[in-house]
Subunit: 362 residues, 2 copies
């Protein structure tokens, strides 16, 4: 068997090895069923049980109250950029807090659908931070406020929810979902593509407060209609069965092996601090992109003194088994995505390499 | 390991055993890569190669001309029901030929978006057949004509394309895609959810003639925009990586193990005729749903003299390792879905059981 490398990809991203091993073991036939999870009918009692456990695990991990629905959809966060305004906007206007590339994309999709305005953007500062509460220009009558809890490309993360008063809060949590506990009651809607912390690419998790379902206008295309998807418990049509099964295995791992999201958050903070420490102690050789108080625990982003050194860093890292450390093509530099499933051991290996490279090149 | 049963599910459906075995073998790490296909970045050169081979295999199998684009999308055929009119309708009106439940759903979604009319429907006859050419009421100025090549629920299949003159022909081919050769030039757009013949649930294949891409109106939400998806070669956002990889393995199997779609069609016809023979020679004990000249080679549908016998049939079948033979809840009865990956051996087992049950109960 090919040996596994350390995969710092921003998503699709590393999955817990025990999850991969269980999926592999049962891939030809689910125990006691005789059918592969890749072949099983979404109307079967076996899939009912998979769907039920996946939702129950998410409810347990995030303490999701009963008046919130959990949906499993397709199309990634990018389809949610359109579905949120299509379902929630009505004749109103929405406020967008933009702290990076994904928040910008969400806003651009919203203005195709209806009225939306920028409540704050960090664009002129190259997206290095989240806004202070006093900088936010929130319309108290807005249909909703949208923000991106963690900007995967810039590595900028909200440490807590932005204060928006009584306006319904909508969050793209794709890249820090399940990395920490969340006060779900503060949200009207949370969505997340699974391919960072929750599973493989191909399923999007939506947590929506029930009163939001009443906003969907008539004649919405069925697949884009939150209310219909909730009524049909995510099986209006054939859902991405295998991807949901993987989310079940990942959430089971979080509960049984990790011990819940508070513990997961501790581990994640420990991993991130190992890398930020090297950056901060490098006398400016490694320059972190985000302001220290807004640094992402999931995506650590930094530059080297010049592009030549960045290229050498990435090449040498790969030779040491440290993969996918190149920053997003839109911003350059380096990025280490250290989601839940990246073991401490992998972060140690990266930390040691960063120190060694610094000593040799600084 | 749990022994595999014969799975006659209408979809998600049985996959070729060698495909499952290869996916299983490499699930922890792709050979020479060291990263699982469940974890691999969609911007990696490894995924580029997967996407490229999948498309090349489809082009080879179906003889797809250069002026057609091949897209890999999400949301199943149900999302295509909306995307087709959103992109192609403009201010025009579309004609729908309705031969079963899926065609009806496609029409219902179209009238939410714009103007659409029924060019023929078999509803009053309970969807037992396709229309004769002289029954079709096609508007020569229609934006497109939509039909469903194989109605999975009723088991009614077009033996050839409906004659629509110069009007662009759009086909939902979900449940007979890759089961036989297709004259692609007769079509403006073909779409298919993968979970019957092409792969697992979670990816939809769209084959679209390039001139159709020019119809997309401005300000279309990005994920619903055929032109944008074509420009970005299906990686505008994170695609369902694993599902596409499985389509690659399935199409490879069709080319290397089966020997192409003409051979696949021969095998499929042979399998279907085994079951239709039992039905036709049962003196009315088994009553086929579809008219003989419109019978589906993929989904064989039939009734027994009464519901009690149907229940006994399904129970005994399952005890013989023959699973998922219950007809769709909307029509009742029995249905055997015998897609590409269902081996002749499985159909023999079902045929033998049907004969035995007939002898004991008729």
């Amino acid at each position: 068997m090919t040996e596994r490398v350390w995969n710092f990809s921003a998503g699709p991203a590393v999955l817990p090895l025990p999850v991969l091993q269980e999926a592999q073991r049962d891939l030809l036939a689910l125990p006691g069923v005789g059918i592969s999870v890749l072949e099983i009918s979404h109307r079967s009692k076996w899939f009912d049980a998979i769907l039920e456990e996946t939702e129950a695990n998410l409810r347990q991990l995030l303490n999701i109250p009963a008046h919130y629905r959990v949906l499993f959809l397709q199309g990634g966060a990018s389809l949610q950029f359109a579905m949120v305004p299509m379902n929630l906007l009505g004749d109103g206007s929405a406020d967008y807090i933009v702290t990076g590339s994904w928040g910008e994309k969400a806003f651009q999709e919203a203005v195709k659908i209806g009225k939306a305005r920028i409540a704050w953007t960090g664009k002129s500062e190259h997206f290095v931070r989240t806004p202070r509460p006093d900088e936010l220009d929130i319309d108290p009558n807005a249909a909703y406020v949208h923000f991106t809890s963690n900007e995967t490309i810039q590595g900028v993360e909200f440490q807590q929810e932005p204060p928006v008063g009584e306006v319904p809060l909508v969050c793209d949590a794709s890249s820090d979902f399940l990395s920490r506990p969340l006060p779900i009651e503060r949200y009207a809607l949370i969505y997340a593509g699974a391919q960072k912390n929750a599973g493989p690419a191909g399923v999007t998790i939506v947590i929506i407060r029930e009163d939001m379902l009443e906003r969907t206008p008539p004649n919405m295309p069925a697949m884009l209609d939150y209310r219909l998807q909730a009524e049909h418990k995510s099986v209006y049509n054939t859902p991405p069965v295998f991807a949901i099964y993987l989310v079940m295995l990942v959430t089971r791992w979080l509960i049984n092996e990790i011990g819940g999201l508070e513990r997961m958050q501790q581990i994640n903070r420990q991993k991130a601090s190992l890398l930020y420490e090297v950056i901060d102690q490098s006398n400016g050789f490694y320059r972190g992109h985000a302001h220290p108080e807004c640094r992402s625990v999931m995506n650590v982003t930094w530059r080297l003194p010049n592009e030549e050194l960045e290229k050498a860093f990435l090449q040498e890292a790969q030779a040491h088994g440290l993969y996918e450390l190149k920053g997003h093509r839109s911003v350059g530099g380096c990025r280490a995505s250290i989601y839940n499933a990246m073991p401490l051991e992998g972060v140690h290996a990266l930390r040691d390499f960063m120190r060694d490279f610094l000593q040799r090149k600084a």
